[in-house]
């Protein structure tokens, strides 16, 4: 196996003395799709925040694609190839769906200021390219008809999908999905599962998925990590995890 895409060593994060995450480690190969589960407050979202530079690690090291990103800023991490979605959906609410995607696309390939101010030919080319790529992405996620719509007026399910579109627009190698199925009905969740599988399969993305919906997690993930009280308590295939007594204890609160 080649060099792993993501290596996380001994990661810890504390907020004012409260350990939200400790002794976390992960080796993630290219094109893997793993799930992270755990009860509320187990440190799953903290993990994503640390990985994306939103909440810098208190200790530990993160190497992504051969590059140490432990201290990098969120925008640099994004450009390095990690994209994420948020548990409670963060869109640029008052901008159009198209603009939302364009902002993601701008992570790679922005104009230079003089091109913009002087409206040099490069600007028009770039803008055209951005728009075309954005429309393609929206097409792929079945959002094309909403291109001109203000983002926060989309129905909830579509907002989730738009967020994934924006994340994809940044051309990630690694996609972090934070409870993408939250608040979805079974049909929507099913569609989401197919989408995730497609992204993983057709677009060769590496994915980490946080999800409470076990059907989704067990359905798509190759490997699952279980967090509890900020610690990694189990790791393995979906089948192994389902049998793991520590996991059952964490979820049900009783020793199995």
């Amino acid at each position: 196996m080649a060099v792993p895409l993501l290596q996380v060593h001994d990661l810890a994060k504390s907020f004012r003395g409260v350990q939200a995450l400790q002794d976390y480690r992960l080796e993630l190969g290219h094109r893997e799709l793993i799930g992270v589960i755990g009860p509320n407050g187990a440190g799953k979202t903290t993990l994503f925040n640390v990985l994306t530079g939103v909440a810098p690690a208190t200790r530990g090291r993160i190497v992504f694609n051969g590059q140490d990103i432990t201290r990098a800023t969120p925008d640099a991490i994004c450009r390095a190839g990690i994209a994420r979605t948020f548990q409670n959906i963060r869109l640029f609410r008052r901008l159009s769906v198209l603009d939302n995607v364009r902002i993601g696309l701008q992570a790679h390939g922005r104009n230079r200021l003089h091109e913009v101010v002087l409206r040099l030919p490069g600007f028009a080319t770039q803008e055209r390219r951005l728009e075309q790529q954005a429309r393609e992405l929206l097409d792929m996620l079945d959002l094309a008809e909403y291109a001109g719509v203000q983002a926060d007026t989309l129905p909830y399910g579509l907002q989730r999908r738009l967020e994934i579109a924006i994340a994809l627009a940044t051309r990630p190698k690694l996609l972090l999905l934070d409870e993408p199925a939250a608040g979805m009905n079974p049909a929507e969740a099913e569609a989401l599962m197919r989408l995730i599988a497609r992204l993983h399969g057709e677009h060769e993305l590496t994915i980490i998925l946080i999800e409470h919906n076990m059907r989704v997690v067990m359905g798509v993930c190759q490997r699952i990590q279980v967090l509890n009280y900020g610690r990694l308590i189990a790791e393995g295939s979906p089948e192994a995890i389902q049998q793991d007594p520590r996991v059952l204890e964490a979820y049900l609160g009783v020793a199995a």
Binding site: V54, A55, R90, D178
Partner: protein, 299 residues
Amino acid sequence: MLTPSYVAQQVINALNIGSIYALVAIGLTVVYGILRLINFAHGDMMTVGAYVALAALTALAMPAVAALLIAMLVVSALGIVIERLAYRPLRGAPEVAMLITSLAISSLIQNGATMTLTAQPRPVRLPAELTQRISALGLSFAVMDVIIIALAIALMVALTLFVQRTTLGIAMRACSENVRVTQLMGIDVNRVIAVAFAISAGLAAAAGVLWTGKFGIVDPFTGFLPGLKAFVAAVIGGIGNIPGAMLGGYLLGFAEVFFVAFMPPEVSGYRDAFVFVLLLIVLLVRPSGLLGAREVNRA
């Protein structure tokens, strides 16, 4: 020049001016905490308070204490009215919208006072027993100076107790944490906000009376500058935080007085710049003010 009594005198001076800044800053911060409104008309409430007290003192020949109370009451009522008319309809609107209405209110008060009362500065004469001077240990200060410090501290203590012990005060703190959740808990947020405005305006009025009583003069623009400075003080302390505003007010008072007191006159012209550079340094080290809660980014 740096004799102990000189330093002590300057400390008294700084405490005096700092107390007033602190009072004004607290009023500003109480409202800010709940509404996230920088009330640029706050300083003008000082002006109104001073005029009311002046009228009570001269036209109605009231004792000073009664004039102070009347001023606080009238201005508190005015605060509630302004909140009802100019801020409540903007609940949920962008923050800048309220900021602009507060600028408009400030302009209304200043120009209204100029039109009706003329811009001629009016003397504010307090009873002699208040202006009487005490000299002790080489220090010199007026009874008024002691009263300013004492009254400011008393009002601050009262406010702190109110906020920590009473139901309404606790509701106020809850509102500054999260208005929506507080509302869901069945608390009448409108009432809480009205009370906050009343307190804020009342404190401003008290500060206005102290300020004009100390300096003996009031005109339609009296409160504007101290109001602006109090805003700065509140921010240094961490806006929205009551002890922070207090701390900020005293810090500002000390910074202003000490810079003039201990710097040669050639550089004391840079006082205001110095105060702001100090402020910038404080903010750069602690971007949410000295006692302000760091806003945690929650993803």
